[in-house]
Structure formats: structure tokens, C-alpha cells
């Protein structure tokens, strides 16, 4: 994977070619976070693609100096989460008429049949429980523990201090652990 220094240089050199390299370098992380933001796998790709296009449009207006100062991954993830929020708001304001279900407020509780990546039983349950966390906690857990971002980047995406980011992630993790344990004891009771 090209590092951000090279990617930024490539963007300044040739925006379109550089941007394709950015999509290839950061596509997995952006898509993985998108996947934990929407209900269906196909919606995750739509959301990720839309976020990348928004990023491209923003970059077209950026000076080389501004591009050189960009921290690409948190910047892309911030755009992704804003895009998801706007999509939900738009869906709520004007119901779609094309028969496609609107983007739900939070991810669906039951994973679809095509979820190979989380085919383990624990994975299924976790995806469900994760979807039920309050948004800041869910986002913090996804960024910190699903896609492995450093705390500084989690804080940058959440727009808060590192201490707050850490505490969102910890409270989210504690809640997940508590619910998993509760479910286990229900099953064995």
C-alpha cells in the first residue's frame, strides 16, 4: 500500500490518477466502516463510492498546499460518515418512490444471508450488538477496533479530543462485552 506521503504527491501531480491510487489504498478501510454504517452489503459499496466521489469533488477545489497537509484516512472517513448522515436525512425527508427501502437509522439487527465475512456465530452477534450502540460509541469502536485506527485518527474523525475518543471506544467495548455475557447467561440459564 502506497503511503500517504506518496499519495498526496500523486494527487498534486495528477489528481485523477492520484485519486485512483487513493481509492485503492484506502478503499478497504472506507468500505469496512461503510459496512458497519448501513444494513446491506450492497449499500456499503454505494455509500463508499459516493463518499469517494465527494472527496474527489472537494479535492478539485483544494490548492496543492492544502492537499499536502491532508491526513487522508481520517479525512476520507469523516466524509464517509457525513455522507451517511446526509443520506439518512434525505431519505427521511423525501421517501424514495423507486421501491428501494430507505437507509435505516441504524444498521439492521439481522445480518443477510450473504454475510460471509461475519459467518462466525460470534461475528453475527457482534455485528448486531454493534449496530445497537449509540452512534459515537459505535463509530469509536468501529474505527478503533474493527479497522484498527490509532486513537489520534479516531479523535480526528469524531471531532473530539483523544481522551473522549478513548472513552467512547472503551464504553462501547464494555457495553458489547456486557451484552455478550448477558446473552450467554440467558442461553445457559
Amino acid at each position: 500500500m502506497a503511503d500517504d506521503e506518496q499519495l498526496r504527491a500523486a494527487l498534486v501531480e495528477d489528481l485523477d490518477a492520484g485519486f485512483e491510487a487513493v481509492v485503492r489504498a484506502h478503499g478497504d478501510v472506507v468500505h469496512a466502516v461503510a459496512r458497519r454504517t448501513v444494513a446491506r452489503p450492497a449499500d456499503a459499496e454505494d455509500l463508499a463510492a459516493e463518499a469517494f466521489l465527494r472527496a474527489y469533488r472537494a479535492l478539485r477545489g483544494y490548492t496543492p498546499v492544502r492537499i499536502a497537509a491532508l491526513s487522508l484516512r481520517p479525512w476520507l472517513l469523516t466524509i464517509l460518515l457525513n455522507t451517511a448522515r446526509n443520506d439518512r436525512r434525505d431519505a427521511a425527508r423525501r421517501p424514495r418512490t423507486d421501491g428501494v427501502a430507505p437507509v435505516p437509522d441504524r444498521p439492521a439487527r439481522t445480518p443477510g444471508p450473504a454475510e460471509h465475512a461475519e459467518s462466525t456465530e460470534l461475528g453475527d452477534r457482534l455485528a448486531t450488538l454493534l449496530a445497537e450502540l449509540p452512534t459515537p460509541q459505535r463509530t469509536a469502536v468501529v474505527l478503533r477496533h474493527v479497522v484498527d485506527l490509532p486513537v489520534a485518527e479516531v479523535a480526528a474523525v469524531l471531532g473530539c479530543g483523544e481522551g473522549t475518543a478513548r472513552s467512547h471506544a472503551k464504553r462501547g467495548l464494555d457495553a458489547l462485552r456486557a451484552r455478550l455475557t448477558a446473552e450467554d447467561s440467558e442461553e445457559t440459564a
Binding site: L15, D16, A17, F19, E20, V23, R24, G27, D28, V29, V30, H31, A32, R35, R36, E45, A48, A49, F52, L53, Y56, R57, R60, H116, A117, E118, T120, L122, G123, L126, A127, L130, V141, H145, V146, V147, D148, L173, L176, R177, L180
Partner: protein
């Protein structure tokens, strides 16, 4: 990492679909077309834009215009989209098209236009009626003037009701050249229109057609009758052709 919860969370991150980059970055090609080279831009879902190179001008300006208007990155394609080159030669069903940016009415107008066979022409009013909005004749003209995929959706086969070929994206001369290439006899049609004839019928079948319909072209002179419109043809006992649907 030994905490099973952290391991399981980590496992929730799968790779992105291989198609993600194509969904974001469009590709362009320069290929031969019926009136010289054309530029085409395609996304993951199909061809999004076709422009005659002579009309679009310099390649860099064309691509920059695309980026500005569509807000999408575009890079050279390693090969043309499947079906594009044969379709521009007049063969095959054509490539997939991505017309997702258009209004439902515009998509319907283009879908109707795409069904007009080579060598045939239809009036704007016919397209409006077939698209379900018979009064929206001018709107059809506007949609076709902005056709993002000319040649693939043959907007050159839609002409004015009075026999004039009407406007075309890259000029009337191109429209005439395209129609003549397909064997449309514009002089004969102009003469018919000048005589007030919009439809022709056969007194052996009792069917009335647009003059370029393949059924109409088989009618021998002795059995051919011209009509100013469908009402006149109906009054004379003719029924409209099921293929060209006048």
C-alpha cells in the same frame, strides 16, 4: 491479540469489493465512429457519455469538461467497453448504458428512441406519445438535444413532423449524413411532406405506416396511398401498423 472480543471485532473488517475503484473512477476511450472518431466515457455500470471528437474538440478540454460537469475522475481505459465499437459500426445490441443521472422522463424518451430501427425516422411528437406524454413534444426535443449517448441512442432518427430533419447535437449536416448512411431517402420524404403526406397505406392490407417503416417500403406504387394523418387514414378504413405505431 488474545481477547476474543477484539479478535472478533477485527474480523468484521473484510476487503472492499474489487469493483469499488471502477465505481468511483470512470474511463475514457477514443474510437472510430460513423462520422469520424468519438470520445466515450464509461463508468462501472455502462457508457455515460459519447461525443464526436470533431464536435467536442481537444481531448483535454473534453475530459476537463466531463470532470467539471459530472464531478467524477476519469482515466484512460485499457480497452473500449464491450459492444461499443460494433455498435458505432451499426452492429450488435450496443454496450450497457449508464443513464442514472437523467430524469425518469428523459430515460423513457431515450428508451423509446433506442427502439427506432436503423434506416427509419419518427417525428418528435411520436416519441412524446410513446414516452407517455403526448403533449411534451418540445421537452422531447430538449432531451434529445442533450442526449448523452448519441449514436448509441439514435436521436438522429427523430425528425420534425413537417419533414424538416430538425436540429442535431453536432449540427444538421451530421444528422443528414447519418440518415443517408442508413439509407433514408430524405429527398423522397421531403417531397412527400411537401405534398402534405405524413403516412402511407396499402390498399391490399389496409395498414397505414410511417413512410420509412419497412412495411411501407414494400408497398408497390399501384397500391400506395398517402395520408395527411392518422385520422384521415382511419376515416378511409385503414388501421395503424403495429410495428411503427403511427
Amino acid at each position: 491479540m488474545t481477547d476474543p472480543l477484539l479478535t472478533a471485532l477485527h474480523d468484521l473488517a473484510g476487503p472492499a469489493p474489487a469493483t469499488l475503484a471502477e465505481r468511483v473512477v470512470d474511463t475514457w476511450v477514443r474510437v472510430p465512429g460513423p462520422l469520424g472518431e468519438v470520445y466515450a466515457v464509461a463508468g462501472a455500470r455502462g457508457v455515460r457519455l459519447v461525443r464526436p471528437a470533431a464536435h467536442a474538440g481537444d481531448l483535454d478540454a473534453f475530459l476537463e469538461g466531463y470532470r467539471v460537469r459530472h464531478g467524477r475522475p476519469v482515466r484512460p481505459a485499457p480497452r473500449p467497453p464491450r459492444g461499443l465499437v460494433p455498435a458505432l459500426r451499426g452492429a450488435g445490441p450496443g454496450p450497457d448504458l449508464d443513464l442514472g443521472d437523467l430524469t425518469p422522463f428523459a430515460r423513457e424518451v431515450l428508451a423509446v428512441t433506442a427502439r427506432i430501427p436503423a434506416g427509419q425516422i419518427r417525428p418528435y411528437g411520436w416519441v412524446a406519445r410513446e414516452a407517455g406524454r403526448p403533449r411534451a413534444v418540445r421537452a422531447v426535443g430538449t432531451v434529445l438535444a442533450r442526449n448523452p449517448v448519441p449514436l448509441l441512442v439514435p436521436c438522429h432518427r427523430v425528425v420534425r413532423g413537417d419533414g424538416d430533419v430538425g436540429q442535431y447535437l453536432s449540427g444538421t449536416a451530421d444528422k443528414v449524413a447519418l440518415l443517408e448512411r442508413e439509407g433514408v431517402e430524405l429527398d423522397r420524404l421531403a417531397a412527400l411532406a411537401a405534398a402534405g403526406t405524413r403516412l402511407v397505406g396499402s390498399d391490399t392490407t389496409g395498414v397505414v405506416c410511417f413512410p420509412t417503416c419497412h412495411h411501407a417500403r414494400r408497398i408497390t406504387a399501384a397500391h400506395r396511398h398517402g395520408f395527411a394523418g392518422l385520422d384521415a387514414a382511419r376515416a378511409a378504413g385503414y388501421r395503424p401498423c403495429r410495428d411503427c405505431r403511427p
